[in-house]
């Protein structure tokens, strides 16, 4: 099915099942421990051996010698995979760092061996017996120091509109500030984990993968295995946040280990290996320059961002969203990439926006203060319903999407498909009690606590990617839907089930949802907040075909047929849905393909975040009191799972604002705090109260389902809202994230 004109009224608009707050259909399996995650799949591989990954002890250099004799002779050991015996591993795919190093080492904890043994403990112990001598090389580990060699990157070309420098220099009110964000680790609950099993030359992996199609592609390409001989299954995933975007060392090495020992092998990365072995959200140094007239209207908008990566890796495109959020005639937008020898930087929840808004939205707060203007009003008056400046660009905000920046020049400024940004701001201010905010920072105190309120805008791209689905009706009237879309706790099972139920006139319990198997139709996966919109549109397309097949089978004119309450109706006739399959199941498969609506319209999601914090006037400790998100993100397919996505994003934003930081040791070149004791993420006590409001919205330019993603909108803008509330509480502006107490302690009120 080709979608190339905005959607009209269709069965989804009934919203009998879609849009309703259905608890997630696989929830009881998860809460009772019966949902089988990749590593636990005993049934798939009852005799699996255990693989233990050995990480490099240096960040850059070479392995000068590796002695595995003692390890090989250790009890229970079945085999050891190293670069010497693994065969060629090609360097292509979503991740650029090699999944198995040797002799060259690209980064700390890069895998150098997999020890396979009968038990986990035997594999782990044998791993400690491998003797490695390294020749260390000098590496670049300091982003600020690497700035001199930084270069532009094709993913995000420079933008210069009007005369930024002149407009900035001559404006009456301006902000010029530099902000830093540190490296972040995904730290999802389930580690990277895989069981690999070969049958002849066919390989199956049960693996924690957000995008099974990419996993299969990259596994095949890296190991030179034809894709049709690979099956990837990722039935349940315990979080990903972008860190499971494609195959990592666990999957590659499990496959190699299983081949080497002639038996299924399971590999999970130990927590302390994850931050340095896999990818992370790269640190940024961002300079934001904003200039406005006394009326608050922006006349110059400048955002420059610097990040680093391994050779071949991409930049964190933290300035991209700034081209879309506010009006302003003169613009400068530069993205620079330096070469570093730290572990690979790659996608983490809302890549680009999450970091970029941490700078831009604090700069807006600073500008509002200089103007003497309410921060909400400043944002309202700088709203725009068209993309400011160059009209011909494609969406710049979507590194995980296949669409990228392919926009061709067009005439006139490109409109947003729908932009309820101002309603988000207004609704949030009203519902949060924004008018109670103290106008003078540092002036509201309750006992030992300094109280502050802050807000920030949210924007995040709404990619939609071609996706398929297969639906099968049986004689009992049950419809089974299959798609290789994944569910990492996001709610995919439920919303795809709701989509099919709505289309086929069924209640949700009459739909069976099967996901995350590369044998099912390709449907992208979870990433870039593109999964929900894409996969439900694919299911829609398949259901349209099934409806036609059912109508034909029952002798209905398919244009007239209505699918309601388990029946097909037209005129005076009605028949149970299952009757169409009484002679055998009916299967329909289709794929939603897209025209150029995403080029005609800028498709984004919008929001506003509000926060109240208390800062301990003695110790400087920052504690969130309450948070509110207002989101405008297309049709909300399920308010329960959508809310869950947004509040999860808000927790991530709280971590980014207040505690999350991979500490770089610039001598040894690694992330030091590489476990969950050292890398702090928020705990329940940090998140006392969250509220989410979804504005009514459908976006007919997206798909017939008219939905967008929301999971990454939920984190975008949260951290700066918290930062601004801390400033409102203390009067001390901290521009280096995370905002920890040591950064403002000396400027807090004197103690008596």
């Amino acid at each position: 099915m080709k979608f190339d004109t905005p959607a009209g009224i269709n069965p989804i608009d009934q919203e009998k099942v879609v849009g309703k707050p259905h608890p997630r259909i696989e929830g009881p399996l998860k809460t009772t421990g019966r949902a089988v995650y990749s590593y636990e799949n005993q049934e798939a591989a009852p005799n699996a051996a255990y693989g233990y990954v050995v990480g490099s002890g240096i960040a850059k250099g070479r392995i000068s010698s590796m002695d595995v004799r003692e390890a090989k002779a250790a009890p229970g050991v079945l085999g050891i995979v190293t670069a010497d015996n693994a065969g060629p591993i090609k360097k292509q795919g979503f991740y650029v760092a090699k999944p198995l190093a040797g002799p060259e080492i690209e980064h700390y904890h890069q895998a150098i061996a997999l020890v396979v043994a009968e038990t986990f403990e035997e594999a782990r112990h044998a791993a400690s017996l491998i003797r490695v001598d390294y020749a260390r090389a000098q590496g670049a580990f300091d982003l600020a120091a690497a700035r001199g060699g930084a270069k532009p990157h094709q993913r995000q070309p420079d933008i210069r509109i009007g005369d930024f420098e002149k407009a900035f220099a001559s404006a009456p009110v301006k902000v010029d500030a530099t902000y830093t964000t540190p490296d972040h680790s995904h730290m999802m609950l389930e580690p990277h984990a895989t069981i690999a099993r070969w049958e002849g030359d066919h390989l199956t992996i049960w693996s924690a993968q957000q995008i099974v199609g990419w996993a299969r592609r990259d596994l095949g390409n890296k190991l030179s295995i034809p894709q049709d001989k690979i099956r990837v299954v990722a039935t349940y995933i315990g979080g990903g946040f972008g860190g499971k975007g494609s195959v990592c060392s666990d999957a590659i090495l499990a496959a190699l280990g299983a081949r080497a020992v002639g038996r299924a092998v399971k590999v999970a990365l130990p927590r302390p290996l994850m931050p340095n072995n896999t990818t992370h959200r790269p640190a940024t140094i961002q300079r934001v320059r904003l200039a406005a007239g006394r009326d608050g209207k922006l006349v110059a908008v400048g955002h420059e961002t610097l990040s680093g990566n391994l050779p071949g890796g991409g930049p964190e495109i933290a300035a991209a969203q700034t081209q879309l959020l506010y009006a302003g005639a003169n613009r400068l937008n530069l993205t620079r990439l330096a070469t570093l020898d730290l572990p690979e930087g790659n996608a983490m929840r809302a890549p680009g926006e999450a970091s970029g808004l941490m700078a831009l939205e604090v700069a807006m707060d600073e500008l509002a203060e200089k103007l003497g203007m309410d921060p909400v009003e400043l944002r309202v008056i700088n709203d725009t319903q068209v993309v400011p400046g160059d009209p011909g660009r494609g969406s710049p905000t979507d590194p995980q999407s296949a669409s990228g920046n392919q926009g061709k020049p067009e005439q006139g400024p490109r409109p947003f498909s729908i932009r309820q940004f101002v309603p988000c701001l207004r609704t949030g201010a009203e519902r949060f009690g924004w008018k109670e905010r103290s106008l003078r920072p540092g002036s509201r105190r309750e006992g030992r606590w300094l109280i502050g309120m802050g807000m920030a805008s949210a924007i995040r791209g709404a990619p939609i990617i071609p996706a398929g689905g297969r639906v099968t009706l049986d004689g009992k009237g049950i419809v089974t839907v299959e798609s290789n879309m994944t569910d990492m706790g996001t709610g995919s099972y439920t919303i795809i089930g709701q989509t099919v139920a709505e289309m086929m006139g069924l209640s949700l319990d009459r739909v069976v949802v099967k996901l995350a198997d590369s044998n099912f139709p390709e449907a992208f996966g979870g990433g870039g907040q593109g999964g929900a919109a894409s996969a439900t549109a694919g299911a829609y397309a398949a259901c349209v075909k099934l409806r036609e097949a059912v109508a034909m089978k029952l002798g209905f004119n398919s244009a007239d047929a209505e699918f309601v309450d388990g029946e097909v109706r037209a005129g005076n006739r009605r028949a149970p849905l299952g009757q169409a399959a009484k002679d055998g199941a009916i299967t329909a498969e289709d794929r939603m393909e897209y025209g150029d609506l995403s080029k005609q319209f800028e498709q984004q999601t919008f929001g506003a975040h509000f926060c109240e914090v208390a800062v301990n006037a003695y110790t400087g400790e920052i504690r969130i009191r309450r948070m509110l998100a207002v989101c405008a993100a297309g049709r909300i397919l399920n308010p329960i799972t959508a809310r869950s996505q947004v509040i999860g994003g808000m927790v991530g934003g709280a971590g980014a604002a207040l505690m999350e930081e991979l500490a770089v040791d610039k001598r040894f070149g690694f992330f030091v705090n590489h476990d969950l004791a050292g890398y702090e993420v928020p705990v329940h006590a940090d998140i006392p109260h969250q509220e989410v409001i979804f504005l009514e919205e459908t976006d007919p330019t997206m798909s017939p389902v008219k939905a967008k993603g929301v999971g990454e909108l939920g984190i975008s803008g949260v951290a700066p809202a918290i930062a601004n509330s801390v400033y409102n509480a203390t009067g001390v502006r901290v521009r280096e994230y995370p905002i920890t107490l040591d950064k403002h302690l000396a400027k807090l009120p004197e103690i008596v």
Binding site: R448, T619, R623, A663, V672, V683, A685, D742, I751
Partner: protein
């Protein structure tokens, strides 16, 4: 053990030694069995009434689940949280004597500001022992030869000096049997634990304090040294305020660039407890 930093040949299960009782001592104190759980100790009505600082310190640490499993003796023997200690690729004199210290000159935000050596800047990470230090607890032990002794808590944990691989002064084969608390001190009891997140984190700085009505009192600090840190000469100037106390308690501090903030933070945290004591 999961990281194979410790690879003991044998593990001895002591859980059935019946050391799980809290009993009054003849001189009006309390004797806490080595196997009393943190949960039971914190909840004991006598502890809550007479040694509030101990309850407050315990519940400020770990999580409910961990406190259900943690014991009095086990908690005293917590090892450092220095991240370099836990990474076997890194030099660490505590893990591998003579290998060097990667933390010095590295990421040391959590680490010691006082009492450290050129060999080691690790901290003792616990909360319970900081309260025991302010209460002048005694650690009772039995040795392999059957003799027993009582070690003042002040002498139980060590400073790293030249032997950072030794966390405490227990001898090989020596087992903790109990911790005794002297008679109650009166006053108001405070435990101020400062950390980046609200729970489930080790202290950047903690203060265990007992403050009397006349403003006198005593204070021990956690998160700053290789042992709970208390300087009795500093307690003597409690009535002059927090800054006077920490000026003495941290007189010979040698913080790193990463953790120099802990010293003013200790002052401010103590000031918070003094203010809390006044308003109580």
């Amino acid at each position: 053990m999961k990281l194979e930093i410790e690879t003991p040949r044998h593990l001895v299960d002591v859980q059935d030694l019946k050391l799980d009782r809290i009993e009054p001592t003849t001189d009006g104190g309390l004797r806490i069995g080595a196997l009393v759980t943190n949960t039971a100790l914190a909840a004991d009505t006598r502890v809550r009434r007479d040694y509030g600082v101990l309850t407050r310190a315990i519940v400020a640490g770990a999580s409910g689940q961990l406190r259900n499993k943690a014991t009095t003796a086990g908690n005293l023997l917590q090892r450092t949280r220095c991240p370099y200690f836990y990474d076997p690729n890194m030099p660490c004199n505590k893990r591998k004597p003579g290998s060097g210290c990667a933390a010095i000159g590295g990421y040391s935000r959590q680490l010691a500001v006082i009492g450290s050596s050129d060999q080691c800047i690790a901290t003792y990470p616990g909360d319970m022992a900081v309260a025991m230090r302010v209460l002048d607890a005694m650690v009772e032990t039995v040795k392999a030869d059957g003799t027993s002794r009582a070690i003042p808590i002040a002498d139980f944990h060590r400073l790293p000096g030249e032997k950072p691989h030794l966390d405490n002064n227990l001898e090989a084969g020596e087992l903790i049997t109990a911790v005794t608390l002297p008679r109650p001190l009166g006053g108001t009891h405070h435990y101020e634990k400062v950390r980046d997140r609200a729970s489930y984190a080790f202290a950047l700085v903690s203060v265990a304090a007992v403050i009397q009505k006349d403003g006198s009192g005593r204070a021990a600090f956690g998160g700053v040294a290789h042992k709970p840190w208390r300087v009795e000469a500093a307690d003597a100037v409690m009535t002059q305020g927090a800054a006077a106390v920490t000026a003495r308690a941290f007189a010979n501090a040698r913080p790193t660039e990463n953790n120099a903030f802990k010293i003013p933070l200790a002052t401010r945290a103590l000031a918070a407890t003094i203010a809390e004591g006044k308003s109580a």
